[in-house]
C-alpha cells in the first residue's frame, strides 16, 4: 500500500473502486484491523482504531463480505444475534432486535429457524447485512457484498441497500470493482490504482464528468457521458419553462411564446396544471385559447426522474420535449438540448470527439 488519505463523511456511502491488486480490500480490512496497518492512523469519530482491543473495535463495526460467511451450523436467528450475544444483551432485547432486522432487510420471519444452506444466495446476503447491523454499529464495511449473486438479484440488493441507508444512515465503506455498482450506490467514489494509489476521490458525477487522469478515464469506460445520464436528475437541470401560456390568455400571447422559442406549438396551462399542446396554426384560426384543440403531452417526467429516463421518454414518444409533472402542477419542460447542455462539460467540450 502506498500513501492513502481519505476523509469519509459520517452517514455517507463511500465506494473503494479499482482493479484487483489496488488494495481496496486491504484498505477496508485495515479499518477493522483484520489487517494491521504498519504505518499511519485510522480514526473513527476521532478515535484511533489501534487504541482499543481489536475484538471490541470489530464488535462496533458491521462487516459484510462477498461470500457472506454465515455460520452454517447456526440458525438464521442465531446468526443475526452473533454480536448482541457477545455484547451480552438480554434474551428479549436480542429477540426483538432480530425480528426488527428481519423486517428491515426484507426477510420472512419464518426463515429465522432455518439454517443458512436452506436459503437462496440473495436471502443469505440479506441475513449477512442484518447480522452486520445487529448491534447498530455506526460504521458498516462491505467487501464486494453483492459479488456472488446474479445481476438481477444484485440490482435489487443495491436498491435495498439504498433504501436501507435512508432508514439507518450508517457510514458505509463499500469495496467493489464494478463501476456501475459504485455509481449506483455511492455518495463518493475513491478510485484506487494498483499499489493503493488514490487516483480520484469525488462524487460519482464529477468522476464521470472530469476524470482526473487517463487511468480514471479508462477505468470508468468509454460511455461515461451516457452513464452520467443515470446519475443526474431532472431537477438538477436549469429551469426551463418552455413556450407555455395560460388558457385564459389571448391567442397572440401564445404565438409570441412560440416564436420566442422557435417552435410551432405552445403548452397550455390551466390553473398551474399542464393541459396539453396547441399548434401555432390553430392559434391563428381560433378566437380564444380555450377553443383551440389540444393534444395531451406524450412524454412526461417528474423532477426525480433521471436524465436517462427523461431521454427515454422523449425518444419513445417521438417528440423533442418532455413535460415535468411536479406533483400535479407544471414544473417546466426538458428538451434534448437541455440534456445535452447539462452533460456538456467545459473540460471536454473542445477535447474529446
Amino acid at each position: 500500500m502506498g500513501d492513502l488519505s481519505l476523509d469519509i463523511e459520517q452517514g455517507s456511502i463511500v465506494a473503494l473502486l479499482g482493479p484487483s491488486g489496488c488494495g481496496k480490500t486491504t484498505t477496508l480490512r485495515m479499518i477493522n484491523r483484520l489487517i494491521e496497518p504498519t504505518a499511519g492512523t485510522i480514526e473513527i469519530d476521532g478515535v484511533d482504531v489501534t487504541t482499543m482491543p481489536a475484538q471490541d473495535l470489530r464488535r462496533g463495526i458491521g462487516y459484510v463480505i462477498q461470500q457472506v460467511g454465515l455460520f452454517p451450523h447456526r440458525s438464521i436467528a442465531t446468526n443475526i444475534a452473533t454480536v448482541p450475544k457477545m455484547l451480552k444483551w438480554d434474551k428479549q432485547r436480542t429477540a426483538d432486535r432480530v425480528l426488527e432486522l428481519t423486517e428491515l432487510v426484507g426477510l420472512d420471519a419464518e426463515m429465522l429457524d432455518r439454517y443458512p444452506d436452506e436459503l437462496s444466495g440473495g436471502q443469505q446476503q440479506r441475513v449477512g447485512v442484518a447480522r452486520a447491523l445487529a448491534a447498530d454499529p455506526p460504521v458498516l464495511l462491505m467487501d464486494e457484498p453483492f459479488g456472488a449473486v446474479d445481476p438481477i438479484v444484485r440490482g435489487r440488493l443495491q436498491d435495498e441497500l439504498l433504501d436501507l441507508q435512508t432508514k439507518v444512515r450508517k457510514t458505509i465503506v463499500l469495496v467493489t470493482h464494478d463501476v456501475d455498482e459504485a455509481l449506483r450506490v455511492a455518495d463518493r467514489i475513491a478510485l484506487l490504482n494498483v499499489g493503493g494509489v488514490l487516483e480520484q476521490f469525488d462524487v460519482p458525477d464529477e468522476i464521470m464528468r472530469s476524470p482526473a487522469n487517463e487511468f480514471v478515464e479508462q477505468f470508468v469506460g468509454e460511455d461515461r457521458g451516457l452513464r452520467r445520464l443515470g446519475l443526474n436528475l431532472v431537477s438538477s437541470l436549469p429551469h426551463h419553462r418552455g413556450p407555455v401560456v395560460s388558457i385564459d390568455a389571448p391567442p397572440d400571447e401564445g404565438l409570441e411564446a412560440a416564436e420566442q422559442e422557435g417552435v410551432a406549438w405552445v403548452g397550455v396551462l390551466d390553473g398551474g396544471s399542464f393541459v396539453g399542446w396547441a399548434a401555432v396554426d390553430e392559434l391563428r384560426t381560433h378566437g380564444t385559447l380555450r377553443a383551440v384543440p389540444r393534444t395531451q403531452p406524450a412524454a412526461q417526467v417528474t423532477p426525480d426522474s433521471t436524465l436517462r429516463a427523461a431521454m427515454e421518454q422523449i425518444m419513445v414518444s417521438n417528440t423533442s420535449v418532455a413535460v415535468i409533472d411536479d406533483g400535479g402542477s407544471f414544473g417546466g419542460v426538458v428538451t434534448l438540448e437541455d440534456i445535452r447542455a447539462a452533460l456538456a462539460s467545459p473540460a471536454r467540450s473542445n477535447g474529446i470527439r
Binding site: 470489530r58 454465515l70 455460520f71 451450523h73 439454517y115
Partner: protein, 223 residues
C-alpha cells in the same frame, strides 16, 4: 468340513454354560476399546492442533502416525509387555490408541481445513476471540469429519483389541485364541461374532451421536 456333530460351528450349551466368562470378555473388550479411543482422541487432538497451528509439522506428524499404523500389532503388544507388564491395561491401550492416530489426526485436520475461509473471516470480522472462534464455530463445523474419523477408528480398534489376547488381554480375542488352541469352534465363533456385533453397535451409536450433534447437516440433506 470338520464341523460334525461333536464340533459344530456353535454349541449353544457352551454359550449358556460360559456366559459369565463371555460377558466378562465383552466388558473387557469394551473397556479396552473405549480407553484406547479416549486416549487416541486426546493425543490426536493435540497433534492436530499442532499441525494446524504450525503447518510445517503436518508432514512429520502424518509420517509418524503412518509409521505407527504400519507396525505389526502383534509385535507392538509384545514389545510393550516387558515395559508395563503383561496384564497392565497400558500395555494394550497404548498400542491400540497409537493405531487410531493416523485416522483421527487426518480427519480432524481435514475437518478444520474444510471450514470455509469466509466463515472464519466473518467470525474474526465480528469480533469473536480466536478461542471462541475455534470452539464455537470451527469445531462444530469440523465435527462431521471428526466423527467420521472416530467411527472408522472405533470399528478398527474393536477388531484390533482381539489381537491383544496374545498378552493375556484382548476381551473377546481371548475366546478366539482359546478356541483356536483347542480346535474348538464355539468360542471362536462366539468371540468373532460378538466382536463384529460390538463394532457395528458402537458404529451405530456413534452415527446417532454425530447426527444429533450436527443437525444442520441433516436438514441440508433433506432439502
Amino acid at each position: 468340513m470338520i464341523a460334525e456333530a461333536r464340533n459344530p460351528i456353535i454349541r449353544w450349551e457352551w454359550v449358556v454354560e460360559q456366559w459369565d466368562q463371555i460377558w466378562e470378555a465383552i466388558i473387557e473388550h469394551l473397556t479396552l476399546t473405549v480407553l484406547a479411543m479416549l486416549l487416541g482422541i486426546v493425543v490426536s487432538a493435540v497433534l492436530a492442533a499442532i499441525a494446524l497451528r504450525f503447518r510445517w509439522t503436518m508432514t512429520p506428524i502424518t509420517a509418524t502416525t503412518s509409521l505407527i499404523y504400519t507396525l505389526p500389532s502383534v509385535a507392538l503388544f509384545a514389545l510393550l509387555a516387558p515395559v508395563f507388564g503383561n496384564l497392565a491395561l497400558a500395555t494394550a491401550v497404548i498400542p491400540l490408541a497409537g493405531y487410531t492416530l493416523l485416522i483421527l489426526v487426518t480427519n480432524t485436520v481435514a475437518g478444520f481445513q474444510a471450514v470455509p475461509r469466509s466463515v472464519r473471516d466473518a467470525a474474526d470480522g465480528m469480533g469473536l476471540t480466536p478461542t471462541r472462534r475455534v470452539l464455537s464455530v470451527e469445531l462444530p463445523l469440523a465435527m462431521p469429519y471428526i466423527m467420521t474419523g472416530v467411527r472408522i477408528a472405533t470399528v478398527s480398534t474393536v477388531g484390533l483389541v482381539t489381537v491383544a489376547a496374545i498378552i493375556g488381554q484382548g476381551g473377546l480375542g481371548r475366546l478366539i485364541f482359546n478356541g483356536l488352541s483347542r480346535a474348538f469352534w464355539t468360542p471362536m465363533t462366539v468371540g468373532a461374532g460378538l466382536s463384529i456385533i460390538l463394532a457395528l453397535t458402537l458404529d451405530a451409536i456413534l452415527l446417532g451421536i454425530a447426527a444429533l450433534a450436527t443437525p444442520w447437516t441433516r436438514r441440508k440433506a433433506a432439502t
